[in-house]
């Protein structure tokens, strides 16, 4: 006998992940609804529910009276088994209706390793995976998020990619769909029309041809599709939609708190960091807006904590004005403020104490590289003196643990740079023991965490080869041998996962076949190490005659046509190449606030590029 949902939920772990009904979740009367939208996060509830972008779009869509947006997450293995046994297709948490009957299925692509989960979810929804096999009786499958800047590996599966920020373009797309649905929706007509909206990329309207060695020859638009699709940005964040409430989960999630976005983009331009380029230009919210939105969110959700989110909290230009303003009500109402990615050094003792800066986040630094030479090459502006001084201050204040984040395999990295990681660790340890007022009776622990560099599209390193796994493992061994004290603990990311990320990040359409085969072999939730099977992945590449090293470990020529060359994120290829060359000379580039370097993002006519009136137009 097939179980009904109520009984089924009693047989799985943490059923509150699938029950729906959380405070803030939106229920609508189906008879008033014309468009159904399934917002899918291709990972577990705990991860997806922590994601700010989803909360924004959920609120945004549901503000449209005739549109009902519901949440969908990847079910955990036990739930999936129960669903398959009882023939329950993937459903929206709010209505529990199968999403195969919706108008849209929308995915957010936050990391490459979610691609197999995405396919898995489509299958669980009983929707054909291939875009070409979905006719008018199936939902349109759309996707956005950072990985949409090179979505080519997913081009066969997704009907529409949204480039850049979604607040405006998603609604424009929804409006267009409404018109089409009213007069009888024909998929092909709709896609042609949609491609006229800026920020909308319809992959099926482009032909890709390859050279005999596997590189791309050309990407050619068909019909009326634009030659280049430019991403969208929100120019004025003070006027942009921001949710007044969040869905408040019952069960514990990764980031269970209110979140206030304080700015988008990053002034820095660290050369390995994709976010630093694809979200340009920097646009700040005013302290008044942040204060109002944060307070409203805490009151409507009851959260006892909120975080200020951005790529680099310390770079918010009016932090000294904002924080006391927030503290005024937060302290009264027993609300904690969390400040991720904050540089502790610039803070007054008093403010640091009121904010509990250290207690909440601990002392962490991300020097990324072990020597000043390499930090200059990657344009990471953090000096050894800054690190040691902040550490000293924290040790005097009773702290005895420091976390340091590094990357292995950065372009131009030498043995000396790797030794530099160990040396920096040792210096932090020494700093502790040289201090006369260090915490008594305690030792110091320095945790060094090392990830593997993954070259990404739209960064100055998009031309660079990734180190081979053997090279990375060699480097890890060498670093270990350079660590001379038990006070330092060392951990790394799996080079195999990073290798696959590198393949997918700069992959082309031919990888669609790899993903499809991975799906057929049952791969799912690859972002979770217990599910990830590297050898099986390599076997697939083998069987399809594709060489993953072609994507991950190959140095590209300056003028090679990239799979993402028809997508325009403002930042020009010429600028990125210049940055690449500067990296090889270990020359730094000033941040956008010091000096505009003419990256190309001024084309959006917003944010820092226009505020300072100093933009270099090229």
């Amino acid at each position: 006998m097939a179980l009904d949902m109520e009984h089924l939920l009693l047989q799985v772990q943490k059923p509150a992940r699938y029950s729906g009904g959380e405070l803030g979740s939106v229920m609508k009367d189906k008879k008033d609804v014309f468009i159904r939208f399934a917002f899918c996060f291709p990972d577990l509830y705990e991860v997806g529910m922590s994601h700010l972008g989803m909360k924004i779009l959920y609120g945004l869509y549901n503000r449209e009276e005739d549109t009902w947006c519901e949440r969908v997450f990847a079910p955990d293995a036990d739930m999936e088994q129960k669903m398959r046994e009882n023939d329950i297709p993937l459903f929206g948490l709010e209505s529990r209706d199968p999403i195969k009957d919706f108008d849209f299925i929308g995915f957010t692509l936050q990391y490459e390793m979610c691609y197999t989960t995405l396919l898995h979810m489509l299958d669980l929804a009983k929707v054909p995976l291939l875009s070409a096999e979905r006719d008018e009786q199936y939902p349109l499958v759309i996707a956005g998020g950072p990985c949409a800047c090179n979505p080519e590996p997913l081009a066969d599966f997704i009907d529409i990619f949204i480039l850049g920020e979604g607040e405006e373009v998603n609604i424009e797309l929804n409006n267009l769909y409404r018109e089409h649905k009213k007069r009888g929706y024909v998929k092909r007509d709709f896609l042609l029309d949609a491609a006229k909206i800026e920020g909308v990329y319809v992959p099926s309207l482009y032909d890709v041809t390859y050279l005999s060695d596997g590189r791309i020859e050309a990407i050619t638009p068909r019909d009326t599709a634009p030659k280049k699709v430019r991403k969208r940005i929100i120019k004025d964040l003070d006027k942009a939609y921001y949710p007044e409430t969040f869905v408040v989960p019952f069960t514990d999630i990764v980031h269970d708190r209110a979140m206030s976005e304080i700015f988008r983009g990053c002034i820095r331009g660290c050369r390995f960091c994709q976010a630093g380029f694809i979200y340009r230009p920097v646009r700040e919210k005013s302290p008044e807006t942040i204060d109002r939105q944060s307070h409203a969110l805490c009151q409507s959700t009851g959260y006892e904590e909120f975080s200020l989110t951005s790529l680099s909290t310390s770079d918010y230009s009016r932090l000294e004005q904002l924080l006391p303003q927030l503290l005024e009500w937060a302290e009264k109402e027993q609300v904690n403020i969390s400040l991720p990615s904050l540089r502790v050094d610039g803070f007054s003792e008093e403010l640091a104490k009121r904010l509990n800066v250290l207690r909440r986040s601990g002392l962490t630094f991300a020097p990324e590289a072990g020597t000043q030479r390499l930090r200059d090459a990657i344009n990471k502006n953090l000096t050894e003196t800054e690190i040691l001084e902040t550490a000293r201050r924290a040790f005097s204040g009773g702290w005895n643990a420091v976390k340091l984040y590094f990357m292995n395999g950065l372009p131009t990295e030498t043995k000396e740079d790797i030794r530099g990681i160990a040396e920096l660790g040792h210096k932090v340890v020494d700093e502790f023991y040289h201090l006369s007022d260090r915490p008594r009776g305690k030792g110091v622990t320095v945790s060094i965490s090392v990830s593997c560099f993954v070259p990404k599209p739209f960064t100055p390193f998009q031309w660079e080869p990734q180190d081979t796994m053997e090279q990375l493992q060699e480097k890890q061994k060498y670093l270990l041998s350079e660590i001379k004290t038990r006070k330092i603990s060392l951990s790394w990311h799996d080079a195999k996962v990073s290798f696959l990320e590198a393949v997918l990040a700069r992959g082309d359409r031919r990888l669609g076949a790899v993903l499809l085969e991975a799906f057929r072999r049952g791969f799912n939730l690859d972002a979770w190490s217990e599910h990830f099977d590297f050898d099986a992945w390599m076997d697939i590449f083998d069987s399809l005659g594709l060489d993953p090293a072609f994507y991950a470990n190959r140095r590209r020529e300056k003028d090679e046509v990239f799979p993402w060359d028809h997508l325009d994120y403002g930042v020009s290829k010429a600028f990125l190449w210049k940055e690449n060359q500067k990296a090889h000379e270990s020359h730094t580039t000033p941040n956008c606030r010091e000096h505009c370097s003419g990256c190309g993002a001024a084309c959006f006519k917003g944010g820092i590029c226009v505020e300072d009136g100093q933009t270099v137009v090229q």
Binding site: L23, F250, T301, Y303
Partner: protein, 213 residues
Amino acid sequence: MLKTVRLLFSKTGRARFISHLDLNRTMTRAVRRAGIPLWYTEGFNRHPYLTFPAPLSLGYEGLAEIMEIRLEEDMPSDELVSKLQAVMPEGLCVFEAFEAQRKAGELKSAAYTLHFTCPADPVRELLAQPSIFVEKFSKKKVLKTVDIAPAFAGAVVEDVENGCKMTVTLPCGGEGTVNPSLFVTALKQKLGEDIPCHVVRTALFDPDGCPFR
């Protein structure tokens, strides 16, 4: 000494999937949303005083559950109820507030109804046995065999549409608790298959058999 306020609430529908731990968090946030001045413990890690004298198992519905809070300042009961009710998620409904009368330790028993998706006969047969042995974990996490027949002696079974319904009052509180799931387990043992069962806790009682207040 601050007054302890007890709130009666129901937990039904989708809300029955909220675990006990999650319910604490959910209610704390609801009280905060309502702008009710909760009393916070002093010290380094301040937390609000908010407890449940009789935790309800995940998946059960409860019609008259109890939550205890302490407030910074007094608030009329009906204001407390209406403010809270305005901010509750689906399935949670606060309907009465009063000052605690009994000590939490004086909670004695609870009434349940169990809806089985099977005919009444096997349920009656099982109840008629002189002893019903099931295994359960003791507080110290060791598996032991217990006889639940005495606790279920007063159970009443009737036929309903799509199955049968058992009504039973079981020990619940400081002096010992018998979870109705033990009977579901025993029935599964007897029939050799899982019988979906929907459990509702309908009331909590003091030693006099009156609603616990």
